[in-house]
């Protein structure tokens, strides 16, 4: 009897410790975020106060107004330009990735052709090629194509990524073949089956892959830093760093910039967190 009640006590204590640990971790993640958001709404005088201020005494939108209305650099640019560039490049590239990789994934999952296994593993080996090895040759390729300082350099290379092919293949493999057989009997062509049977069924997978691709391209830093060099072409992450280098002494503006550029991805994440979590847990991709 006594050992029983001790067991229950032990269990309660360990549950308490678990929650305490998770809460500390949660606070470590949240606290810097709250601080940043707080500062972005503070006038400069309050930011500079010591000890550190967390809650804005008199919230103001000045920093946000400033960051959207200042002319960045010599050209007549605003943050909207970089927001637009990021949106433009990322959405075109994402659509391209979805079309190209879902077709290839379908071929690997559903069609028989000589050399399939070999090709799949050959392409898959590209997974293991570290990014640093591709940086310089890809840059030289962009130069040869005349794509330096153009958005082509950001839009097209992601279409070569193997992740989408792998991801879509896994999904297409899981669809019961009876559905396809019915379409074959109806006389549909390979493309017809793909378009009318598999693509509609794969909508959730396409959406998940789309979110992943979008986040990945949107957040990229090194590649756009290397291939773009004029202010009006830059994407938001790179533009922000370059721009803030000059504004580093205006803390409120810097923080407003960080808030503005993380808001879109955080909104996408919160809306689609279930799909994102599930996909990460199932495939092991999407990390840093």
């Amino acid at each position: 009897m006594q050992s029983d009640s001790r067991n229950i006590l032990n269990k309660r204590l360990s549950k308490l410790a678990t929650y305490a640990f998770l809460t500390v971790l949660l606070l470590i993640v949240l606290f810097p975020t709250i601080w940043i958001v707080g500062q972005s709404f503070m006038p400069e005088e309050q930011i500079l106060k010591w000890p550190v201020q967390i809650i804005p005494a008199e919230p103001t939108l000045d920093n946000f107004i400033e960051i959207f209305t200042t002319k960045l650099s010599r050209q007549e640019l605003s943050l909207f330009r970089w927001l637009f560039n990021s949106l433009y490049v990322t959405s075109i590239s994402t659509v391209g990735v979805l079309i190209v990789t879902s077709m290839a994934g379908y071929a690997f999952a559903r069609l028989r052709f000589p050399g399939k296994q070999l090709l799949f593993f050959g392409l898959g080996a590209s997974f293991l090629v570290p990014g640093v090895m591709l940086l310089i040759p890809s840059f030289m390729l962009m130069r040869a194509l005349g794509w330096i300082d153009t958005h082509h350099a950001l839009i097209w290379p992601p279409l070569a990524g193997f992740f989408g092919v792998f991801f879509m293949r896994q999904f297409f493999l899981a669809i019961p073949s009876e559905l396809a057989e019915a379409a074959v009997i109806d006389g549909a062509s390979a493309f017809g089956i793909y378009r009318r049977v598999f693509l509609p069924l794969s909508r959730p997978a396409v959406a998940t892959l789309g979110i992943f691709t979008f986040l990945f391209i949107w957040n990229d830093f090194t590649w756009p830093l290397v291939v773009l060099n004029s202010d009006e072409m830059r994407t938001l992450p790179v533009g922000l760093v370059v721009f803030l280098g000059e504004y580093w002494s205006y803390q409120g503006i810097v923080m407003a910039g960080a808030v503005v550029s993380s808001a879109p991805v955080l909104i996408v994440y919160i809306i689609f967190q279930r799909q994102i979590t599930r996909a990460v847990m199932a495939t092991g991709f999407g990390g840093r």
């Binding site: 678990t18 290839a104 570290p130 940086l135 990229d220 994102i276």
Partner: protein, 308 residues
């Protein structure tokens, strides 16, 4: 429909399946063609030219391009900055990988054992992963500044704190902590998935055999999630040894001095500041090939350990 049944009627069965097979193969290649085009141009091409670039002297500014054999690699051996940068990257990658694995594993174990609030904890802890390095860099450059948040917390305890990013001994651990904050959510989810995959019966059996909590962790849980552990350790290490953005943004490209000067910064600077494409290419190839082999070995090991 009509064309297919016509073909079936006119030829023998084997003939019919043959043309059908050919059609399917043709369709397969056609479906693959667009992806293959991009793969060849933007992945296979650069991989091949990476091997060429490493063996040439290629000065973009002077326009020289000539084959020099192993000279770039010789140069690398004599380059002090290369050695410093490699050491820094290794140190950073080891710290970050170990830190990430420990934090992520603890978080995953904790998450698995609770139900109430599970989603909110998980969602918040993964959230930083979706942010870009520029946002992370900006936030933490502020946070770690002499009058930043972290020293503000030290102030509460009457300690004046540190100048994290200006102290040669603190700068790399600070970048590692930043990176762990940014990224531990990812290995956490991978570990969580692995933990859910362990059959509950095994825990029960261990408990019936009288195993304590700690014993279960070391003897049951960890061995069973070893594939996930190995996968995370190797991919994290490969990813973090290529650290670039953190130092580029937070320490103005490797400061103070060369204390946080990483190998990818060195490659970046040689290639895109000095335009020594050949030399930078040789360094990138060396790092790339070593990491590739590392990844390959990992997948062999994974194959061996997955059966349980």
């Amino acid at each position: 429909m009509t064309s297919k049944s016509a073909a079936g009627a006119s030829g023998t069965i084997s003939n019919w399946t043959l043309t059908n097979k050919r059609r399917e193969a043709l369709a397969g290649y056609l479906f693959l063609a667009p992806y293959l085009f991009f793969f060849l141009v933007f992945l296979a091409g650069p991989v091949i030219s990476a091997f060429v670039t490493a063996f040439v002297e290629w000065e973009l500014l002077r326009g020289t391009y000539r084959f020099i054999g192993l000279e770039n690699f010789q140069l690398m051996m004599e380059d002090d900055l290369f050695r410093i940068a490699l050491g820094n990257s290794l140190y950073f990658a080891i710290m970050t990988t170990i830190g990430n694995v420990i934090v992520a594993l603890c978080a995953a174990l904790a998450l698995k054992s609770i139900r109430l609030g599970h989603t909110i904890f998980r969602v918040v802890m993964y959230a930083p992963v979706v942010l870009s390095i520029s946002v992370i860099g900006i936030i933490f450059k502020r946070l770690l500044a002499p009058f930043g948040l972290l020293n503000g917390i030290f102030e509460l305890f009457g300690h004046s704190g540190f100048d994290y990013l200006a102290d040669p001994n603190l700068v790399l651990p600070s970048l590692a902590l930043t990176t762990i904050w940014w990224g531990f959510g990812f290995p956490m989810l991978i570990f969580l998935a692995a933990l859910y995959a362990v059959p509950e019966v095994l825990y029960e059996a261990a408990r019936i055999d009288g195993a304590g909590r700690r014993q279960i962790l070391w003897r049951v849980t960890l061995p069973l999630i070893r594939p996930a552990l190995l996968f995370i350790i190797v991919t994290q290490f490969i990813g973090h040894i290529q650290v670039f953005g953190q130092a580029y943004i937070m320490t103005n490209g490797g400061g103070p001095g060369y204390s946080s000067y990483t190998i990818v910064l060195h490659i970046y600077r040689n290639a895109f500041t000095y335009y020594h494409m050949g030399y930078a290419g040789a360094m990138a190839l060396t790092l790339g090939v070593v990491m590739f082999i590392f990844a390959l070995v990992q997948f062999r090991l994974l194959g061996r350990y997955t059966e349980y």
